[in-house]
C-alpha cells in the first residue's frame, strides 16, 4: 500500500513539474511574441518617421515636379553627415563681437541633439535632395530647432542623455587674461542616428536590467551610427528584440571596458559584452569585406594547391616528390582530399634538388628519400582521425618521413581547412565565425616567429601557424645548404659535358654564385635559393599577413559573432544551453529619387518619394519582407525528463509583420505567426 502511495505521489509530482514547465514554455512564448512585436513596431516607427520627414521635405507631397530650376540640383551629392558637420562646424565671435572685444571669450560649446537631428534631418536628407532648397532648409532648421529645443527642455543632459554637451572647442583667448563670462552656443553634431531616441530608451531600459550603464549605451549607439543607415536600423531592431528575450545570467570581467569607466575587472553581463563587440565592428562589415576575405582564402588555396602539386599557380609542383603527393583537386569530395596519391616524375624542384644532393653524398638533416607511397599510405591509415590520448597518438612515422614531409603534410592540412571553409556560403561563414576563426589565425601563434620556437614540441594549430612553420623550415633548409656551399669544390667539366665532382661551385665570376648538386650542369643551387631564400618565405609571409589582416579587420573577428542578420546569441546556464535568434526582413528604406520625364523640348524633373509605406506600389514585389522574427531554443540539460526546462524540446518562433506609412496611424502590427 505504501509503495502504491509513493508511486502515486511520484506520478502526481511529475505531473505538477511537467505542467510547471509547460507553463514556463508558455511564458517564454509570450515574451518572444512581445519582443517580436516591440521590435517590429520600433522599426516601423523609424521607417514611418523617415517617410514623414521626406514627405514634409518635399512640400507635403510624394512627388514634387518642376519644369525648371532643378538642373542645378545635381551638383551636390552630399551625405547628410558630411553636410551637417561642415555646415555646423564653424564658430564666430560671441554675441556679435562685443563680448569678444570686451572680454575675449572665444570658446565654442558644441551641443548635440541626437534624436532631433537624426530624426528630423540626418536620415531624411540624402543624395541629391540635400542640394535642394528644401533639403538645406531642413538641415539647418532641424539642427537649430533641436539645439534651441534642447536648451529649453528644462532638463540637463546628464538627466536624460538627450541633450549633451559634447565638446569644448578652443581655449579662452581673452586678451585680459580673465575668464570669459559667456560662451556662444552653436549647433554641433556628432551623432546621427535615425530613431536614436527610441532605441536609446529601449537599450537603456534593457541595460539597466542587465546592470549596464548609460555610457555603455552611448557607446553602442555611437558605434552603430557609423554603420550604414540600413545596417544601423537593422541592428537596433535586432537589439530591441533580442534584449526582450535573452536572460543570460552569466557575467565576466569587463576586459574591453564596455562602459568606459576604466575598470576592466568589474563583472558585466556576457550579453552586454557581446553587443559591444558586435556594435563596434558591424560598421566595418559589408559585403565587400566578405568578398575580400573570400578572395584572400582563394589566393591561399591557389598558392598552396600549386606548390603541393596542383600544377598551377606561382610555384607549380614545388613540393611534389616522385614518391607521393597530396590531392589538390577541389572538385573531389572532402574525404578524398585526404587520400595520398602516387608521386610525379619529374618531381618538383625541391625534392629533385635535395635528392640530387643526397645522391652526391651530402647528408641533409631535413631530407631523406621516401617515404614510399605504399608505406606512407599504410602508416597514414593508422593515424587517428579524431583526438587521441596516450599510446593511441603514438603512431611511428614511416621510414623516410622527414621535416620536408612534415612541412608538406602541414600545408596539405591547411589546404583541406581552407577548402572546407571556402565551400561554405558567406553568410554561413559570417554566422559561425567564432567557431572557425582560430583555424585561420590564432594570435597566440605570433610567438612562432620567435627563433627559439620548436615546431616539433609545439606544433601549430592554425593555418597561420602552419605557414609560419613552413617559412621557418624553408629558412632553416636554405641556411643549412648555404653553410655547406663554401665547402664544395669548384666545378670542372669533363669531355662529356658533365661535372667531374658534385656538388660543386661555379667560378664564372665573383658575382654569380651558383652550384650544381649533381654532375648534370643544371645549377640547382640558384633555383633552390630563389625559392627557399626569397619567393617561398615571402609569399607565405604575404599569405600570413592576409590571414592576419582578415582576422583583425573586423569582419572576420568577434564583431559578427552571432551573424549580422539574422543574429544568434547562445549561452549556457544551469538550465542548459539556450539560443536566441532574431531575423529582420529585408525592408526598404524610404528615399527620394530624381526622375526626368519628357524630352529636351518639354520635360520635367521630379523628386519622388519611394518606399514610403510597406505597400508602396508593391515595391516588395509580392514578397512581404516587413517582419521581425524571433526564435528561442532551450536545449534541455541532462536532468531527468520531468525537470527539463523545455519539455517540448523544440524552438519557439514568432514573426511579427508591421505596417508603416506617412502618418503615425500607419504604424501598427498587421499580423503575427
Amino acid at each position: 500500500m505504501a509503495t502504491l502511495l509513493i508511486l502515486l505521489m511520484v506520478i502526481g509530482l511529475s505531473f505538477v513539474l511537467f505542467t510547471a514547465n509547460i507553463g514556463n514554455v508558455s511564458v517564454q512564448s509570450t515574451a518572444i511574441a512581445n519582443a517580436a512585436d516591440a521590435a517590429a513596431l520600433q522599426l516601423s516607427s523609424n521607417l514611418s518617421t523617415k517617410s514623414r520627414q521626406l514627405f514634409e521635405g518635399l512640400g507635403n507631397t510624394v512627388k514634387d515636379c518642376t519644369e525648371t530650376g532643378f538642373a542645378a540640383m545635381g551638383f551636390a551629392i552630399i551625405g547628410a553627415i558630411a553636410l551637417l558637420v561642415v555646415s555646423f562646424g564653424s564658430a564666430a565671435p560671441a554675441i556679435g563681437g562685443w563680448f569678444t572685444t570686451a572680454l575675449g571669450g572665444s570658446q565654442m560649446l558644441a551641443m548635440t541633439a541626437v534624436g532631433a537631428i537624426g530624426g528630423a534631418a540626418g536620415g531624411a536628407i540624402g543624395g541629391e535632395y540635400a542640394g535642394t532648397g528644401a533639403g538645406r532648409g531642413a538641415l539647418m532648421g532641424a539642427g537649430i530647432g533641436a539645439a534651441i529645443g534642447g536648451m529649453a527642455a528644462g532638463i540637463t543632459g546628464a538627466e536624460t542623455g538627450k541633450f549633451t554637451e559634447i565638446a569644448l572647442v578652443g581655449e579662452n583667448a581673452s586678451a585680459m587674461g580673465a575668464a570669459s563670462i559667456s560662451v556662444p552656443i552653436t549647433a554641433g553634431l556628432s551623432q546621427i542616428v535615425v530613431g536614436g531616441l527610441g532605441v536609446a530608451s529601449t537599450a537603456y531600459n534593457e541595460a539597466e536590467r542587465m546592470r549596464a550603464i548609460d555610457d555603455y549605451i552611448n557607446e553602442i549607439m555611437k558605434m552603430l551610427s557609423k554603420a550604414s543607415e540600413k545596417d544601423s536600423m537593422t541592428q537596433m531592431t535586432i537589439m530591441r528584440a533580442m534584449s526582450g528575450v535573452v536572460d543570460d545570467p552569466n557575467m565576466s570581467p569587463d576586459v574591453n571596458d564596455t562602459n568606459y569607466n576604466r575598470d576592466t575587472t568589474e563583472l558585466v553581463s556576457d550579453y552586454q559584452a557581446w553587443w559591444w563587440q558586435r556594435a563596434k565592428n558591424i560598421p566595418k562589415v559589408d559585403s565587400n569585406s566578405i568578398a575580400n576575405a573570400l578572395l584572400g582564402l582563394d589566393g591561399l588555396l591557389a598558392f598552396i594547391g600549386g606548390i603541393l602539386g596542383g600544377g598551377y599557380g606561382w610555384a607549380p609542383d614545388l613540393l611534389v616528390s616522385k614518391e607521393y603527393m597530396w590531392p589538390t583537386d577541389l572538385s573531389l569530395p572532402a574525404a578524398q582530399l585526404d587520400i595520398l596519391l602516387p608521386g610525379k616524375d619529374p618531381e618538383g624542384l625541391l625534392a629533385h634538388s635535395f635528392r640530387a644532393l643526397e645522391g652526391s653524398g651530402v647528408d641533409l638533416s631535413f631530407w631523406e628519400p621516401g617515404p614510399q607511397y605504399d608505406v606512407y599510405t599504410a602508416a597514414y591509415a593508422h593515424v587517428p582521425s579524431t583526438a587521441c590520448t596516450g599510446a593511441a597518438c603514438d603512431v611511428p612515422p614511416p621510414p623516410g618521413y622527414d621535416r620536408f614531409d612534415m612541412a608538406v603534410a602541414s600545408l596539405h592540412e591547411a589546404y583541406i581547412w581552407v577548402s572546407a571553409l571556402r565551400q561554405q556560403s558567406p553568410s554561413a561563414l559570417a554566422a559561425t565565425w567564432d567557431h572557425w576563426i582560430n583555424l585561420v589565425y590564432d594570435p597566440a601563434e605570433d610567438a612562432l616567429d620567435d627563433p627559439a620556437y620548436n615546431p616539433y614540441t609545439d606544433p601549430p594549430s592554425s593555418i597561420y601557424g602552419i605557414l609560419t612553420l613552413v617559412i621557418y623550415e624553408m629558412n632553416s633548409w636554405m641556411a643549412e645548404i648555404d653553410a655547406l656551399y663554401p665547402t664544395w669544390p669548384p666545378c670542372q667539366m669533363n669531355a662529356y659535358g658533365e661535372f667531374v665532382t658534385a656538388p660543386c661551385r661555379t667560378t664564372f665570376s665573383s658575382w654569380w654564385q651558383d652550384a650544381s648538386f649533381d654532375t648534370v650542369p643544371d645549377y640547382e643551387y640558384s633555383q633552390v635559393k630563389s625559392w627557399l631564400g626569397t619567393w617561398g618565405p615571402m609569399l607565405l609571409d604575404f599569405m600570413r599577413s592576409v590571414l592576419k589582416g582578415m582576422a583583425n579587420y573586423g569582419y572576420l573577428g568577434n564583431e559578427i559573432r552571432g551573424g549580422k542578420n539574422p543574429a544568434t546569441y547562445e549561452w549556457n546556464d544551469a538550465r542548459g544551453r539556450h539560443r536566441v535568434r532574431v531575423k529582420v526582413g529585408n525592408f526598404r528604406i524610404p528615399n527620394i529619387v530624381k526622375r526626368e520625364y519628357g524630352n529636351w523640348w518639354k520635360g520635367k524633373t521630379c523628386l519622388e518619394l519611394e518606399s514610403y509605406s510597406d505597400n508602396w506600389e508593391f515595391t516588395n514585389l509580392g514578397k512581404d519582407e516587413n517582419y521581425v522574427e524571433v526564435s528561442r531554443y532551450d536545449q534541455p540539460s541532462g536532468q531527468a525528463a520531468i525537470g527539463r526546462w523545455n519539455p517540448l524540446n523544440r524552438s519557439i518562433t514568432k514573426r511579427a509583420y508591421y505596417s508603416y506609412g506617412l502618418t503615425w496611424d500607419d504604424v501598427h502590427l498587421r499580423h503575427r505567426h
Binding site: 564653424s90 530624426g119 532648409g137 559667456s182
Partner: protein, 171 residues
C-alpha cells in the same frame, strides 16, 4: 518785480520732443521684444507665417549662416522650399528635444545697436539654466524682421549682470 522765469518755448518744445522720442523709442523696443517672442513662437509651432518675419538673406542662427545657404538658391521655388522646410524641421527638432516655449523667461531688451544696421537685441533667459537666447530684430526700410538668433552660456553670472547693467545704462 521780477517776472517769474519760465522755460523758453523752444526749450519746452525740445523737452516735449525728447520725451516723445523716448516714449516712441521705448514703445519700439517693447514692440521688438513682442516681435522676437512672436517669431520664436511661430517657429516652434511650425507656422509658415514666420517666413515674413525673418530676413532670410541676413539670417544667422546659432552662428550658422542660414542666410548664406538660403541665398545660394536663386529660384523662388527653392527659396520657398528652404523657408518652409526650415520652419518644419525647426519645429520637429525643438519638439523632439522636449523644448518648451514657457522655459524662455524674462524677455527684455539687451541692447540697441545702430551700425551697420539698426538692431534691437532681445534677450530671454532659460529657466533654471545659465543659458540665454538672444534674438536680434533688424530695422530696415521701415520693416522689422528677425536677423539673428544667438544662444549663450553664462559662465560668470556676476560679471554678466554687471555687463548687462552697463549696456542698459548706455541704452
Amino acid at each position: 518785480m521780477k517776472t517769474p522765469r519760465h522755460g523758453s518755448p523752444a526749450a519746452l518744445c525740445g523737452a516735449c520732443l525728447l520725451a516723445f522720442v523716448l516714449l516712441v523709442s521705448g514703445c519700439g523696443a517693447r514692440q521688438d521684444v513682442a516681435l522676437a517672442r512672436r517669431v520664436l513662437v511661430l517657429l516652434v509651432e511650425g507656422r509658415y507665417s514666420a517666413r515674413h518675419l525673418i530676413d532670410w538673406e541676413k539670417f544667422t542662427a546659432l552662428q550658422q549662416p542660414v542666410g548664406e545657404q538660403y541665398s545660394a538658391f536663386a529660384g523662388e521655388g527653392d527659396r520657398l522650399n528652404f523657408q518652409r522646410s526650415f520652419i518644419d524641421t525647426f519645429r520637429s527638432g525643438f519638439k523632439t528635444e522636449g523644448g518648451d516655449i514657457k522655459n524662455f523667461v524674462h524677455w527684455r531688451v539687451l541692447e540697441v545697436v545702430e551700425e551697420p544696421l539698426r538692431v534691437t537685441r532681445v534677450a530671454a533667459d532659460i529657466k533654471d539654466r545659465p543659458l540665454m537666447l538672444i534674438l536680434d530684430i533688424g530695422h530696415e526700410k521701415g520693416k522689422r524682421r528677425l536677423v539673428r538668433i544667438e544662444a549663450v552660456k553664462i559662465t560668470d553670472e556676476e560679471a554678466f549682470r554687471e555687463y548687462e547693467k552697463g549696456a542698459r545704462r548706455a541704452f
